[in-house]
Amino acid sequence: MTEPLLDVRDLRVSLRRSGREVSVVDGVSLAIAPGEFVGLVGESGCGKSMTAFGLVNLFPTPAAHLAGGTVTFHGGRRLDGLPPAAMRRIRGAEIGMVFQDPNTYLDPLLPIGHQIAEALREHDFAGDVDARVLELLTLMEIPDPALAVRRFPHELSGGQRQRALIAAALAMNPKLLIADEPTTALDVTIQAAILDLLRRLRRQLGIGVLLITHDLGVIAETCDRVYVMYAGRIVESNTTASLFATPRHPYSQGLIKATLRPDRREALFSIPGQVPSPDSPPAGCRFHPRCPIAIAKCMGQSPELVSYDSGSVACHRAHDPAARTTWSASAA
C-alpha cells in the first residue's frame, strides 16, 4: 500500500462505568488507502461504532474517551490529540459520517436542506450554499430537489432520510466517509439502493469508505478489503475475495457460515453463545468460550495478529489444517 488515507495504530477507547474504566476498543489497527472501500464487521457490541467514533474523537456519551493509539490522516496529520477546534474543522469537511438510524440522526424540527447546508456553513463554504445543496440532493438521486430542501424529516421516507444524511456528510467533499451500519434500519430493497448509491459515489468522487456492518453479505457486495472485529479487537483482515474463499479465524468462518444461505432449505446457522461484556473479557483468546477448536493455550495466551499472504489473523491454530472447517464438525 502506498501512502494510506487513514492509518490507525493500536487505537484504544474506554468507557467510565460506575467509577471504573472499561475498555471497549482494545488496540485496533487498520488502514484505508485513498479511494478504497473497507469493511469492518462483527457482531453487535463488538466495539465497531466506538472504533469509528474514536477515529474522529467524538463520542455519543461523555463517558467514552480515547485511551491510546495513533490516528494518522491524509498528509501525515495526526488526529489523536488534536485540539477540539482543529478536530472540528476535520469532521464533516474531510471526514464525513453516516449513521445507522436516519430517523433519529436528523433534527425533526429543521428542514433537511437546512441540515445539509449546516455542513457547508459551519466550514465556511466559499461557493453558493443553496446551489450546492441542490447539487447534492441531485447527486443523491432525491426526486424534486427544489421541493425536497424544504421538507421536514417526517415528510420523507427512510431511504430518503438516509440519502439526506449522506448528502450532508459529503457536502464538503470529504476524502473519507465513515458509514456506521447505514442500511441496518432500512427495508431490504432500500438497503440495496443505498449500497448502490455508496458504490457509485465512491467511483464518482474517489472517496475512501469505511463501512461498518454486522452483515458480511453487505461486505461481499461492496468492499475491497475487510476487517473482522471481535470483543474490541481485530481478529482477521484480508481482501474480501480471500476472506470469503479462505477464512482463517474460526470467528470469520462462523460469520460467513451465518451469512451464506444456500438455496436448499437449511436451518440458519448462528454462532452459539454471545459477545462477552467488555466489563469482564475472557482471558487469553477472547473467542475461546465460543470456539469449537479451542486448545489449552487459547485460554492462557492472547494470540497476536500475524500477517500472511494478503491478510492477517489472530488465532493460535490459524495454520492448522484442521482449523479450516471449524464449524462443519460441530455445527448443529
Binding site: R16, S18, T61, P62, A63
Partner: protein, 285 residues
C-alpha cells in the same frame, strides 16, 4: 409483593442519607414538627396577650425576637404559628394524596369512559388558578383552618391522580396481579394490596412537594387576611408586618424565614426522594 416493597425502601433510606441536602431537610422538618408539638413549652408567653412594650427590637429582655405593634411576643407567635403551617401543610397534602390516589386508582383500574372523564376533570382542575380560587372560596365560606385544608386538598389532588393512574395502568396486567385475580381476590383488594404498594414511590415524592406547596398557599391566604382569626399563623404575621415595615423589620424577617426554611425542607426532601427513586438519573455520567 409487600416483601419486595420493603427492600427498595431500605436502600432508599441509605441513598437518602448519603445526600447532605436530604439529611438537612429531614432534620429541619423534624425540628419544626417538634417545635409545633412543644409550642406551649417553648413559648415564653401567650402569643395573643399584648403589652405596652410594643415594637421592641429583637434581643430585648424577655423578647428574643422582639414584639409586634400590640406588644405581643414575636417568638411565642412564631412557635405557635408553626402549628398552623405544619398542620395545614401536612393535612392538606395528605388529603390531596388520598383523594388523588382514590381517583387515580379508579381511573386506571376501571379505564374506559370513566377514566377519560376523571382525567378530563383532573386536567380542568390543573388549569384552575389555585390561589385565586382558594381566596374566593375562603372569602365566601369564611376562614377557618378546616376550610383552608379542605380547599387546598380539593385543588391539589390531580398530580397524584395522574401518577397513580399511570402506575395502575402499567401494573394492571402484570403477572402478579393476574395471579391475584385468578386467586379470586376482589378488585378493591387487588388495587389496595397488590398494585398501590408498588406505586407508593412517586406518591411519596408528590406528597412531599404538596406539603411545601400547601404551606406556601396557606401563607398567602394568611397574608391576604384570610387565615383563621383565632390562631396565629406565619402568613398572618406577615400581613401585620406589611403595615409596620418602616418601624419593625423583625416582624417581617422572622416569619418569612420560618416559612422559607420549612417549605425549602419539604421541597428538598421531595427532590432528594425523586433522585433516590430514579436510578436512571442518579447513575447518569
Amino acid at each position: 409483593m409487600t416483601g419486595l416493597a420493603l427492600a427498595p425502601r431500605n436502600t432508599l433510606w441509605s441513598r437518602l442519607r448519603r445526600r447532605p441536602g436530604a439529611t438537612l431537610a429531614m432534620a429541619a422538618i423534624a425540628i419544626s414538627v417538634l417545635v409545633a408539638i412543644a409550642a406551649p413549652l417553648l413559648a415564653l408567653r401567650d402569643p395573643f396577650s399584648g403589652s405596652a412594650a410594643s415594637l421592641l427590637p429583637p434581643l430585648s429582655p424577655g423578647h428574643p425576637l422582639g414584639t409586634d405593634h400590640l406588644g405581643r411576643d414575636l417568638w411565642s407567635q412564631l412557635v405557635y404559628g408553626a402549628r398552623v403551617s405544619l398542620a395545614v401543610g401536612i393535612l392538606a397534602a395528605a388529603s390531596a394524596v388520598l383523594i388523588g390516589t382514590a381517583i387515580g386508582a379508579i381511573a386506571g383500574y376501571v379505564g374506559g369512559v370513566l377514566d377519560n372523564a376523571l382525567m378530563r376533570l383532573a386536567e380542568f382542575f390543573q388549569t384552575l388558578p389555585r390561589f385565586v380560587l382558594a381566596i374566593v372560596t375562603i372569602a365566601f365560606f369564611g376562614s377557618s383552618v378546616l376550610h383552608v385544608i379542605i380547599v387546598i386538598a380539593i385543588l391539589s389532588w390531580p398530580q397524584t391522580a395522574r401518577l397513580v393512574r399511570a402506575g395502575v395502568i402499567t401494573l394492571r396486567s402484570a403477572a402478579f396481579v393476574e395471579a391475584a385475580r385468578l386467586g379470586g381476590k376482589s378488585d378493591t383488594a387487588i388495587v389496595v394490596r397488590e398494585i398501590l404498594p408498588n406505586v407508593i414511590a412517586p406518591i411519596v415524592v408528590t406528597g412531599s412537594l404538596d406539603v411545601a406547596a400547601a404551606i406556601l398557599l396557606e401563607a398567602g391566604l394568611g397574608f391576604f387576611g384570610l387565615g383563621d382569626p383565632n390562631l396565629v399563623s406565619w402568613g398572618g404575621m406577615l400581613n401585620q408586618a406589611q403595615q409596620y415595615l418602616r418601624q419593625a423589620w423583625w416582624m417581617s424577617v422572622f416569619p418569612g424565614l420560618a416559612i422559607t426554611v420549612v417549605v425549602l425542607a419539604f421541597n428538598l426532601l421531595g427532590d432528594a426522594l425523586n433522585d433516590a427513586l430514579n436510578p436512571r438519573l442518579r447513575d447518569a455520567p
